[in-house]
């Protein structure tokens, strides 16, 4: 029977909900569920994931205060080894992508990144070529390491809380050190959690376009704001807003692509959205091929009208 170890991600004292997708994917294989929370002062995080695991292992150590790939990978691999874990899972977030391959190397395990489906205990599907191809891969080693695309697995139902226990961890000698983290501060929902996303493309023409035209729409909808690579590259929006093959993958209920052409690299990150609206002045823009509703027009005219109409419709 499989023994799963799910690596729990947290930031500033909060559980990253993307982790729940890893529990959901592991549950599809079936077997014993163990969770691992590393850090310092992480008792609340352990409680938050207890309903999804048989046992939550809490590894606290001064050397784990900041999440650095080298010491984290060592501790995860050590715990996986002593548990006899067959599968080690995490969300395919930037932290999961950073750390899990090192865990695979330490465990001499084969790894599948960013999976979108579980076929059986060793076979998984994953998007490749910016999501234009879905590959089925088999991990042929006894131990397996997997990161999970959060948008493809919804959070499992909470069960009776599992046991929480301390596990001793030794981060070992590390060649890396943490300097600082500059967080993007925003009152808006995070892209990963947002029910509605308004995404800016180069058509917004500058930061004023985002502020003056898109923000009022996002406010009216309670939406998060995302962007194309072109917008982030230009410095009109933080890099953290980039959606796409090489940015964030999102799948909200409602996605507005505004002044955004719809290059495959962008579409790779948003085509799972339930309802896609495209606003573009070019009727031939590729974004219309993935949009449920397309409106051809000048965004500087159309979006303010839309904002007013939505406010009215929501009453």
């Amino acid at each position: 029977m499989a023994t799963h170890l799910i690596v729990v991600e947290h930031q500033s004292g909060k559980l990253n909900k993307a982790t729940l997708s890893a529990f959901a994917a592991a549950a599809k294989v079936g077997g014993d569920m163990h969770a691992l929370v590393l850090g310092q002062g992480v008792g609340d995080i352990a409680k938050a994931v207890a309903p999804y695991a048989k046992k939550v292992h809490v590894g606290e150590h001064a050397g784990l205060k900041d999440r650095l790939a080298q010491p984290y990978a060592k501790c995860i691999a050590d715990v996986a080894g002593s548990l006899g874990a067959t599968h080690v899972w995490a969300a395919a977030s930037s932290a999961g992508k950073d750390v899990l391959p090192r865990v695979a190397a330490r465990l001499d395990a084969a790894m599948a990144s960013d999976i979108c489906a579980v076929i059986d205990e060793k076979t998984f599907k994953r998007p490749m070529w910016a999501g234009n191809v879905i590959g089925t891969v088999e991990l042929a080693t006894a131990k397996k390491v997997i990161t999970v695309r959060p948008t493809e697995f919804s959070a499992p139902a909470a069960g009776a809380p599992g046991e929480i226990g301390a596990v001793s961890v030794d981060p070992g000698a590390s060649k890396m050190s943490f300097v600082k983290f500059d967080a993007v501060v925003s009152d808006r929902p995070a892209l990963a959690d947002a029910r509605v996303i308004v995404a800016a493309g180069r058509g917004v023409k500058g930061p004023e376009g985002i502020k003056g035209v898109l923000e009022p729409l996002a406010d009216a909808l309670g939406a998060a704001i995302g962007a194309s690579r072109a917008v982030c590259d230009a410095g009109w929006a933080p890099n953290d807003w980039q959606i796409g093959q090489t940015g964030k993958v999102v799948a909200p209920e409602l996605y507005f692509a505004v002044g955004l052409s719809g290059a495959i690299q962008h579409v790779a990150g948003m085509k799972g959205s339930k309802c896609i609206v495209a606003i573009n002045k070019d009727p031939e823009a590729p974004i219309f091929q993935v949009a449920d509703y397309g409106l051809v027009g000048d965004l500087f005219k159309v979006v303010p009208e839309l904002t007013e109409a939505i406010k009215k419709a929501k009453g």
Partner: protein, 249 residues
Amino acid sequence: MKFLVTVKRVTDFEAKVKLKADKSGVETSGVNMIVNPFDEIAVEEALRQKDKTGGGEVVVVAIGTADSTAQIRSALAMGADRGILVKHDGALDSNGVARLLQKVVEKEKPDVVFMGKQAIDDDSAQEGQLLAEVLGWGQATFANSVTLEGGKATVIREADGGLETVACELPCIITADLRLNEPRYASLPGIMKAKKKPLDELTPDALGVKLESRVVVKGFEEPAQKKAGQKVADVAALVDKLKNEAKAI
């Protein structure tokens, strides 16, 4: 300082991705092949850091068939000093790549290995981290800016929720994100010179690596297609659809 940069031959990001008729893989015949865009950024960064740190050498390594020589030559044309091709034909998983690169690193002893953060074909984003672990080195993935000073690399990384700064003792692995730099175009003299730059060939055997397939690709398929949408005439029609048809607002 000495820099090692990895380059992978991939299908052009502007080319339409199509499966072969028998679905055994992505069609590459008649498709333009390029240096993985993230690797190009890595090459550029190595060239800039070589200048900033007072010279040294930039060595470019690719793994693949003789076709990958073209990608090594592109990097040489940008200004890299010499190339290494590890000759291999057929399937190769990320573990195999890491073990081959480990041997090349042990041979070349670079101060920094620059790699792309992911290859735009298999989108795995594992290689730099795997290599760092097998070497026991520090890593800075998704690099947005790099400073090499005082025997360490200080790197600003693109992370979820903001920018993280880490420091790594040298030698270390750095993987390039999109905004690390804008790669230069090769000049005509650069392209001419590249033809004469040294390019060595190695084999997995010569490196003492026995390859085994641990990630076995069982097949490929096209993703489910979205059903075609509709254009709406104006804002009023859009709001009506969103409210009454999609029930999204």
